[in-house]
């Protein structure tokens, strides 16, 4: 009697079975990897801006305070992007003929704001208040990275829910002394384990159960 299948069919069939099983595992793993990749989150990717503004030069090398431009960080729900007037406080005096700054001058003349490409955006269903984080001792660099080292600004963290929850579950790991909030190279000091809970108590941060309630962010 004849065989219905050639001898090689077994190997092919088993290979197909194994591939199917491997795909069952690999597809979710690959999908999870893609979702977390910079391709989706945009972390580390500096988009082209209307003016190649360098945080490294202004905030790092020249030492201009964050709040000089982002005036509302301690008072408002959003950090805000400075108006052209802020740029022109200096650039009406220095580098007035620079080609690079032409769009800034045009914006000033025409009274049309520059259209910066926004980097950090939260979904509409997330209630977020910038001021409470800064005033309770969460430093700029915890979320935005060391901006003073960024030539062109990029997103330092993917603001996925796990990023927020990491801190909301254990704020004592991240909270700083008030004078350290603006320190872009801050790392937890050796005594953070004792200092953190003290700061949490002093700032009335109710971590753990209270900060992980759904309604804290999703109102």
């Amino acid at each position: 009697m004849a065989q219905l299948f050639a001898p090689g069919a077994d190997a092919l069939y088993r290979l197909a079975l194994m591939t199917g099983l491997a795909c069952l595992v690999a597809v979710p793993v690959v999908a999870a990897g893609i979702v977390r990749s910079s391709y989706v989150t945009g972390v580390g990717i500096a988009p082209a801006q209307p003016v190649p503004f360098s945080h490294k030069h202004h905030a790092g090398e020249l030492g201009i305070d964050c709040r000089y431009c982002h005036t509302g960080v301690e008072r408002l729900a959003t950090a805000g992007i400075p108006p052209t007037h802020t740029c022109m406080t200096c650039h009406s005096q220095i580098w007035t003929g620079s080609d690079m700054l032409k769009p800034v001058r045009e914006s000033y003349d025409e009274k049309k704001p520059l259209r910066w490409v926004r980097l950090n955006r939260l979904p509409d269903y997330v209630y977020y208040n910038h001021s409470v984080h800064v005033t309770k001792g969460i430093g700029c660099s915890t979320c935005h990275g060391d901006v003073t080292s960024m030539q062109m600004t990029y997103r330092a963290n993917a603001f996925e829910m796990q990023f927020c929850l990491d801190c909301h579950r254990a704020p004592e790991k991240y909270v700083r002394e008030p004078d350290q909030v603006w320190n872009m190279t801050w790392t937890p000091p050796a005594d953070q384990a004792t200092r953190g809970p003290e700061l949490v108590a002093r700032n009335h941060i109710r971590g753990g159960a209270r900060l992980t309630e759904c309604g804290i962010c999703h109102r």
Partner: protein
Amino acid sequence: MSGTRRGGPPPGSPPGPRSAPRLGPRFGPLLASGETLRDIGGAVSAIPLTHPGNRRWWIAFAAALALLGVFALTLGYLLYAGPGIWGNNNAVVWALDIASYDWWIGVACGSVLVSGVLMLLEAEWRGAVNRIAETVALLATAAAGLYPIIHLGRPWFFFWNLPYPNTYDLWPQFRSPLLWDAIDIVSFLVIALSLWYIGLLPDLATLRDRAHAEAMRQREVGAPTRRVALLRAQVYGIVASGWRGSAAHWQIWGQAYRTVALLGVLLVISVQTGASVMLAGSLMPGWHGTLLPISFLVHAVLSGVGVTAAIVVTVRVVYGLDALITARHLDVLGRLMLCLGCASAYCYAAEAFGTLLNGHAPERAVLIRRFTGAHAPAFWTAVICLVGAPQVLWSARARVSPLAIAAVGLLAAAGAYADHVMVLVVTLTQDFLPAARLSYAENAWGIATFAGSVGLFLTLLLLFLRYLPAVSIAETRRLALAQAPAAGAAEAARGVRRPEAEPHAGPLWGVAAAFATQADLAAALQALSGMRGGDVHLDGHGPVPMPRALRPLGLEGRSILPYALAGALLGGGAFYALCVYATAYDYVFLIGGRPRFSWPSFVVPSVSCAMMTGCLAIHVALLVLNRLPRLNHPAFNIPGFLRASDDRFFLSAEAQGDGFDAGRIERRLAALPAEAGRPLEIRRIPR
């Protein structure tokens, strides 16, 4: 149940004076007399291979496809407009969508339970019913499985229900019956598919061999369709995974089938009670009866049996399978529905009685609204169909009437649907907030969605009937052999031994011998069992399980149970550990005042998961212990081996070392007495 006893007329049924001679079939055999193994295989496999009643099939298929089109249309509009199209943008958030889901999963549960219980009770007549029951279970699960997805506001995020590594740093809520449901439906799909496929495996091999024989015939005559014929045989060959009907295969297969049936029965109980606990977990009146899980189970089984019975009767009429699905089977199905109808009556009566007796006013109000409210027709339909219709079957004449059985079956299924609508809608229409009491009425889109899911079920069912055996060939053959042990021995061992010494070009794989009966095969294996080990690997091959061949093969102690048990315990334990880790340690979240370690709520999904992983372990064991899949195997070189899935038994002695002496085996076989193991034919098989 009388039918579960072995052979003879059902002792429980009084042969009263009213049973006129016309009712003879009621006491008839479970299988028409004179059916041989080959006839059974032929009658069943002719349906997928030659498509009798082709025109009727196409008409039915066109109708089913039209309904499926309605489903596609509805789902398209649903995705566009959202679940509000069902008219439940009010307090009645669960209406036809959940009623349909509960009904489909109920039908699936009922079918699994019937098939599983009959298998565990070793009812030898189950072959006529079990395949259709298992198919109904699988297809109803497929239809049911869509509802939890499509009733979500954003169905494309359905996977949020499952525990997977997400970027939210969250776990699904393991204390919630909604999660239990997600795990239940996945497990149920795995179990239903496994039960169906494992049962189908030997029959697929029969189909493969018959299709192969037809393909070889067409090649010889140079028929224009020979390539299609070969392709068909190969497709059956691939899904049959190289089943050779070896005694070892049959042994593991039987154990796997029974164990999956057991897991299925346990899962059914977990799923149906889980569904009722989901209702009891709310604060709504009318959903807290302690009898609710039982009532769910009874109605689920009744609807499952009803749908199965209706389809069994239809298949019997359309394909003329009266010889295999006899009046006795209809009688047994009828008795089953009657019992369940009485159980249903008890459930309704006990619920009404208990509610009226206790002092809880909202519960009483719900009960009264069920009788008289806007949705009272649902209640009365449920009672008339679930309790009333089966009472017809007290009549013995009705129990053997295909029309009556099918009608009662369909009515019972409709009643179960009405029951789900009643349970959900009557409670929900009267919200506690008077402002939320918006009226609800079933609308066209809800009905169209359900009709569409029926279309999906029917389309798949018709495809199954066209391409796969509707009646279990293996089980029916087993019944035939139990009734008349000589059914397979058409030419008996009178045949003369015909050893043909032919020169072999290649190396020798082994020696094969053909027998007419299992008894002969077992005797021959016994005679050779001294040679087993070292250089000779013995095996038997045949169309039915061969328990008598296991002792000489030394396989008696083999069991698949440790694998199933290990798989179930590991899977269930791992899931339970996951629940505990997630809920008590990683994601501590106060919800509804439940304690951090709410252990009882993790039991239900863990049991369901255990059933699923146990079933997966059985699949692995089935493949590994049987050294499958082997699409190409030297045993297929045995001349006439196609009949190993038909009516012949083969012995194979495989050479596994230099000490293999083919001549000695041939002489030993040839010397056996004619009535105790002398083969019809002995062959040397090349590798």
